[in-house]
Symmetry: C2
Subunit: 334 residues, 2 copies
């Protein structure tokens, strides 16, 4: 591989990393995907399939795998596709292998526990000379991997790097829309997981589709308030990274956060639910981070607060959500 | 009934009018509902049930019915709950029976065919001295009638009338949020019916939930563009009247517009579909009106245009929607 081929590097070979590789691979743009597990590397290189995390999908022949981060050095763009809480250690591991100026596109959604930092803030701290972008939007990995159409927001506030990304990430069925609001974009992707838990609770309590739609809308207002307080733009949340992702996550049992809310409504505890799953619902972490952030910025985030109570051991989920739906009047969009 | 009791008048006793009566009736606030059909008047007054349009729901004893528009004269607030295309003749019929200053809250969603006028524009033309408001949001009549919670946007740009409405429309489970953006609010309620047809087509073609979420988001951008061009505010569409209503309408076979889209995707024609229904899908009318409005204002509304083609006899629904999902890149929120 050389620089002229514009290889795309993908760090993380879970379902979403593999789906992104599949979405962007073409004869002219090979994808090199880094996996921690030798089994995954062998499966992708030997059989063009990720048997562990995306079984049943025949991968593009231009996708190769490696377990060596140094092999990503010649890539034109790097997609970082690890869970949000692993972004910091992964960036530290990646640092010695980065060429200057190569954009790193973070594809995780969430806020770092403890620091309350956005993914691009972590990147700026560890890799100050690397352009940091965000890719986020309404995407189920299984659908994108099968070639079904969707669109994502790619946000970066570096015009040169934006051009490189635009010229490289050209999906046949996954369309990137560029934005320069890195903050608003990430707030959308993080907060929606918390709102999805609330919507799952409303669904589980059989409060109706109207109530769920109203709650999603009020959740969007929470997102917008937080984004604005952090320097983002309210209207960014009208886009794929806000409304689009919220709609998808709050409407499907395919979403881990939504289904967690349904289970909470059925009276199960977080511990019981987690014991049955091998994957975490990111919204549980995010709800805690949001409480700290909302407190520090003096922002009203009632839905996030309610979710935080529900995942922190308060069993009276029905009462908490009923109170939420009966809050007093105030002007819309406030 | 006298002025002190703050009776609410409801004009139109379909499912939605009856549900609104049920949502706002309390011992202190009786509701007088006008129905064209004698059968409905007798059923409500005799058995506290609207057997024709909302069977099975036991109505509040403070709801009475009349077939005489003159009986609404003493009401403090009037809710107009007819289909959009009947608003004009109904306002003409109501005019001789109106007290000055009593707000008329329009609850229809749509645009007048032929004139391209919003509901409040029609009201301003026929009743220039009457404050005209709009009530809209994510509500399924059957859910609201059963007392399930939701919230609506009530928009009016007359502060005094807004206060009267706020003091009168106090639902136990249906919460009004006030707005002064009458234009943006109505554009949301009208355009969402068209986007719902498109989403129904995507669902019917099995293009996936990600594609549907992306299309809803791009539809929201169309709404926002049109609203802005007409003097409304983009951020209004972030609210219940925009996102909230869009989410509900695009996610459920309960929506006539969504289910129309599904039927179109199955290869049936508009004529065949309409022959099996006793109710019209408002989005069919709205799509046509939007084409005229978008043309006159030079606004890009690709989803509405695609829907208009699909309901105007172009049978190649799959190709039309595929083209829509493959449109070239442009900045988000443009």
């Amino acid at each position: 591989m050389n620089r002229n081929t514009k290889t795309i590097g993908v760090i993380g070979a879970g379902a979403w990393g593999t789906a992104l590789a599949q979405a962007f691979a073409t004869p002219e743009r090979p994808v090199l995907i880094w996996a921690r597990e030798t089994e995954v590397v062998e499966s992708i290189n030997g059989a063009s399939e990720n048997t562990l995390f995306l079984p049943g999908v025949s991968l593009d022949p231009m996708i190769a795998a490696t377990s060596d981060l140094a092999a990503l050095r010649e890539c034109a763009v790097l997609l970082l596709v690890t869970p949000a809480q692993y972004v910091r250690p992964t960036l530290h591991a990646l640092k010695p292998h980065l060429r200057p100026g190569v954009p790193v596109v973070n594809c995780a959604k969430g806020i770092e526990i403890g620091t309350g930092k956005l993914m691009t803030d972590i990147a700026a701290e560890i890799l100050p000379d690397t352009p940091a972008a965000i890719l986020t939007g309404p995407t189920f990995a299984a659908e994108i991997a099968r070639g079904l159409p969707s669109a994502v927001t790619v946000a970066i506030n570096d015009a040169g790097a934006a051009q490189v990304i635009r010229d490289t990430l050209i999906g046949r069925t996954l369309r990137p829309y560029l934005s320069d609001d890195v903050v608003g974009t990430q707030v959308g992707g993080a907060v929606k997981n918390v709102i999805a838990i609330a919507c799952g609770i409303v669904y589980g309590l059989k409060l109706g589709e109207s109530a769920k739609a109203a709650l999603m809308t009020r959740g969007l207002a929470e997102m917008a308030r937080l984004a604005e307080s952090m320097g983002g733009r309210r209207e960014t949340l009208l886009g794929l990274c806000g409304v689009g992702d919220l709609v998808l996550t709050c409407s499907s049992m395919q979403s881990r956060n939504f289904s967690l809310g349904v289970a909470l409504a059925e009276g199960r505890t977080l511990e019981q639910i987690m014991a049955e799953r091998n994957s975490v619902a990111e919204g549980v972490h995010t709800a805690k981070a949001l409480m700290d952030m909302a407190g520090a910025r003096n922002i009203d985030m009632p839905i996030s607060a309610a979710v935080h109570r529900c995942v922190s051991g308060d069993r009276d989920v029905g009462r908490i959500v009923a109170e939420l739906l009966e809050r007093p009047l105030k002007p819309e969009n406030a």
